[in-house]
Symmetry: C2
Subunit: 483 residues, 2 copies
């Protein structure tokens, strides 16, 4: 595949006036009806910038804007719903959405279907020019007056700015919003002055207590612990667990627990990892500090500990979303990944995974790096067989987000299923004494036996979301749910 | 000025075969007749890569290629002349050239005029797509098998790769040539795997003893010392010499001597610089270590000490050529520069500067960052009144490289001249007791009085070189010299 990279139109300046305007003045100077606006979600549930910009955008009476953020967190929901209701926002592309906004979109609030892309897919679409690029409003924990900025230092430090780096490089107009102006020249410059048109100072860009998910506790849930232990058995008994291996884990109880079990296995078997990839947690930073992992390749940070350690550890390396996961570039880091552990809302008997729609058909998730990291040599889905009265292993997922042929092993608390195309893994894992290996159909039957077959969800004919695979092809659509 | 940035065509790969080929195989796979090839000159007179690639290119029988290196050093002369004679190379754009190659071009060896650009102008021309981009062969002192590379570590460490970073970002095909393959993932990645198509290992990419110019001695030439001391008087008595000022100096005896005088003035007057910019020398690194300079913004390193210190000093920051000096971006570092000290082959009474053609009209120089840095708040040209039997201050420069309206002060061993448009500087500098201030016409008359008026150089009508100003406009042409 050969793709032509796009490039922004660049307005030359010596930069003397970059810092001379208020946020409202900059919006008036740069935003026009019909434009596409970029934001990042590195401040996660502690983000103040999105709301500050969107409040002004709505109050200034703009119409027919498109939003193309790296993702939408819950703290952004209310104002996006308001913007949709007022006709300010008429198109959205995002990694995902939840809560009130997901409900609104799933019930047909938008005329145009939203487009859901993975982090790697968004990078690809930006680079190829598929996402039309107008103005990026990028919150940063520090910047100088010319726009040299990073995420590592300041009261609102969020660590890596991996998704925002794409916007900074490709947006026509880049507006940095910061609460911490530092002397020129500010280093390291994750975002460079050559990419920035305006720098605006506001009182606070984020609530540091909510930037981190805080999910650093070690789970005591016996089901999560059992899943984590089994995941660790799968990966340590796979041919990929050898010195110099690489891995990615997510956040949440089971994934963090895997880190602990994996740590002990690495110590016991004298095996070290060359790198860990993706969203980084404090648990990964601990492995780096212990010397069990050589490098952390960090596209975003999931907790305050991980965010704050980046500045102190030269081996915790910030990478942009293209480098992380773009399938159309000259080699993304996910292509070098041995082992990944991912979550799921649903997995079906063809190993397809849904991380987007709930059992009621409503959008309440995000693709994140799921499609991207699933291209690893060994992709493990860790999920409970059932959640409450809902089956996780189902005959057919409500929405296909990550295709089954990229999934190798599904781990539940009752046992695992191996994708039939991975007979090599079956050979390895059957060596483990008393290891509960089932077919995926058997796991699905166990789930059904527990909670019965649910009523099918009913949808209207109206498509509310296109789901892209990371290469830009359409992998599924989501329809409006029936009232 | 608004410009559309170009982007390369990118061939997607997961990278498994990047390292599978010899240099010859890669050339055959990537180079076709008529293409434009990129090289960098960071290894300076110690470069082995240019010759290795060009030897194969010539022997493989390619025709009608264009060369677009960041500059051409003397070690590249012989093979370029051979390539021109054999019709392998028919077009060249460069910052400059010297010796046998400059002689050949000035005597009409090429059908097409060469194009001479400053480092900032080259960055601009690459970014806008004016320079057609095919294959970049970039020597690097280290790389992993995917192409993550930097200039800081290895037997051939050259420090910053500022010019090569442009080629890596914009070339259609990027070939790294290294003598030091390191484990994946290699960090810091000045050049990233996402930019690299092939990685080729050869025995040695450079001779470390010749990478540095070695020009780190403190001059004992009384004329150079006098010029340096006078330059220091000019700059320390200017309104720009205050805490937080910024500066750029070149290499060579007088410039290094300025660093020493400046250091003492900074200590005496308790003044510290925020940053120093440009090609970096060990003398600048010493100022950084002493705390007299806050940051070194480093686009290339002029000696081994400067090259090797980058990895150890986080405040010695690598910048690319666009960030350094592109006039069409959102604010280059030269736009933030207070004081710059530059050299000259000739200065005329309109303050125009020639750093390209000798008194015989032959090309023997390089623009480098001369045009770019001359946009500083205070631009000082340091040059002797005469060199041997040749006047430096002349009625009309042989070739205009840097326009007189960007030059503020000319300093010679007999006195200084201030550009009349800078009456503010005249006011400041006349305060210095017994300070020898002349008009530029008076300096020119002094030079003429010493050595007489030389015979005019005779040229043919054939243009052998276009000289671009940094913004892409034509500032002068160079004609073929008469035999």
């Amino acid at each position: 595949m050969i793709t032509q990279r796009s490039g922004p139109k660049v307005r030359a300046t010596t930069g003397k006036e970059k810092c001379a305007y208020t946020l409202e003045e900059v919006i008036v100077k740069t935003v026009q009806d019909g434009m596409t606006l970029f934001f990042h979600h590195h401040f996660r549930e502690g983000d103040y910038v999105f709301n500050a910009v969107m409040r002004l955008i709505i109050d200034l009476g703009y119409k027919n804007l498109a939003l193309a953020p790296s993702s939408l967190t819950n703290v952004m929901n209310d104002i996006v719903v308001e913007a949709i209701e007022k006709g300010v926002v008429t198109q959205i592309t995002s990694s995902g959405m939840r809560g009130k906004l997901g409900e609104a979109v799933s019930h047909g609030a938008l005329q145009n279907p939203i487009v859901l892309r993975s982090h790697g897919g968004r990078a690809r679409a930006i680079e190829t020019g598929e996402i039309k690029i107008d103005v990026a409003f990028l919150g940063v924990p520090n910047s100088d007056e010319m726009g040299n900025a990073n995420g590592m230092v300041g009261a609102s430090a969020c660590g890596a700015l991996g998704y925002a780096l794409m916007d900074a490089q490709y947006a026509q107009t880049v507006v940095l919003v910061t609460d911490h102006l530092v002397p020129y020249p500010n280093m390291p410059a994750s975002i460079k002055q050559t990419q920035v048109d305006y720098v605006v100072k506001i009182a606070a860009v984020g609530d540091p207590d909510k930037i981190g998910s805080g999910a650093t506790r070690f789970t005591s849930d016996p089901k999560e612990l059992k899943i984590a232990k089994t995941v660790n058995q799968v990966l340590t008994n796979s041919p990929y667990f050898k010195d110099g291996f690489s891995f990615q884990t997510g956040t949440g109880g089971a994934a963090l627990a895997v880190s602990r079990f994996l740590r002990q296995s690495m110590i016991d078997q004298h095996i070290k990892a060359s790198f860990a990839l993706g969203g980084i947690t404090s648990a990964m930073v601990d492995l780096l500090k212990e010397g069990l992992v050589g490098k952390l390749m960090d596209v975003q940070d999931f907790d305050r500990g991980a965010a704050q350690s980046m500045h102190e550890n030269e081996n915790q390396q910030e990478i942009d979303a293209s480098w992380y996961a773009d399938p159309a570039n000259k080699g993304a880091m996910v292509d070098q990944l041995d082992i990944v552990i991912l979550s799921a809302l649903e997995i079906d008997t063809a190993f397809n995974v849904n991380v987007m729609t709930g059992s009621d058909g409503v959008i309440r998730g995000a693709i994140g790096g799921h499609q991207d990291a699933a291209t690893a040599n060994l992709t493990i889905i860790a999920a409970p067989l059932v959640r409450g009265r809902l089956a996780t292993i189902v005959p057919r997922v409500t929405t296909v987000i990550t295709p089954g042929d990229t999934i190798d092993v599904v781990v539940t608390e009752v046992g695992i299923a191996i994708n039939p195309r991975r007979s090599d893994l079956l050979d390895s894992l059957t060596q483990i004494p008393d290891f509960p290996i089932f077919t995926i159909q058997e796991l699905q039957a166990k789930a059904a036996a527990k909670i019965g077959i649910p009523e099918p969800i009913t949808f209207t004919d109206k498509v509310v979301a296109f789901v892209e695979y990371r290469d830009g092809t359409l992998i599924d659509v989501i329809n409006q749910v029936k009232e």
